[in-house]
């Protein structure tokens, strides 16, 4: 199942609708669906935030095979930015030193079983997988 989404935060409602339709069709439980909401929001908004000038839509593809969910996001016009190499945020700092940056990708890493990034001919592809219990 695949769909294209406008590159802005207002698209999130449509992204969630798309995701929920898929999860419902595949009888994925509510807790996993919420986890995937978070994963997809963090990856989608990351693409929007760090490449706001591009005009092309971002595509999201969802797959389920046996007990593995797979999500693939494609930005067809982007500079290389390998988020898998991004340093984890420092989580043990006191309040005054805590920063929100990096929490989204950190959560994606913690909540999924794999996170892969490819950049080829100006196209960024991020793929995550999550095993179902």
């Amino acid at each position: 199942m695949q769909q294209e989404f406008k590159r802005n935060m207002e698209s999130l409602e449509n992204v969630f609708d798309f995701l929920h339709t898929f999860m419902s069709q595949h009888k994925v439980d509510e807790e996993t669906t919420q986890t995937m909401d978070l994963v997809v929001e963090e990856l989608f908004t990351n693409m929007v935030k760090y490449n706001p000038e591009a005009r092309e839509d971002i595509s999201i593809r969802l797959d389920k095979s046996s007990n593995v969910l797979s999500v693939c996001l494609v930005d067809p016009n982007s500079k290389p930015f390998d988020l898998t190499q991004k340093e984890d945020p420092k989580l043990n700092l006191p309040l005054k030193d805590r920063k929100p940056g990096g929490l989204g990708i950190y959560m994606v890493k913690k909540l999924t079983d794999s996170l892969d990034y490819e950049h080829h001919n100006g196209k960024s592809t991020i793929t995550v997988t999550k095993r179902l219990e």
């Binding site: 935060m9 207002e10 999130l12 409602e13 969630f16 807790e31 919420q34 909401d37 978070l38 929001e41 963090e42 908004t45 989580l91 043990n92 006191p94 309040l95 005054k96 805590r98 929100p100 929490l103 989204g104 950190y106 959560m107 913690k110 909540l111």
Partner: protein
């Protein structure tokens, strides 16, 4: 639908889905807080890193003046997000009798 409002001084409620499309609304309301405030999260179904960033900014701003946000009645999903990001260490997380029923 997302909503956040101040009920009275020291008491606010947040509900619905706090995703990246709601940060302006949330920031605007949280910026009005001037004292220690219990934020009732009983009906908050979802929060992403965008929402966490807004709550963290509010906590920092209040703490500079000797106040704080107390986060009340979190759902399991919201609590899990705070645990993963270790933000539970910089917020006081409480249960209130009004939120337990």
């Amino acid at each position: 639908m997302f909503d956040i409002r101040i009920v009275k001084p020291g008491e606010a409620v947040i509900s619905g889905r706090f995703d990246a499309s709601q940060v302006d609304k949330a920031r605007s309301v949280l910026n009005e807080l001037t004292t220690t405030t219990v934020l009732d999260m009983k009906d908050l179904q979802y929060v992403s890193s965008a929402g966490l960033g807004i709550l963290l900014a509010a906590q920092k701003r209040l703490s500079e003046k000797g106040h704080k946000l107390l986060l009340a009645n979190m759902s399991k999903h919201v609590r899990d997000v705070f645990q993963i990001t270790r933000l539970e260490t910089v917020f006081e997380i409480i249960e209130t009798s009004s939120g337990s029923g």
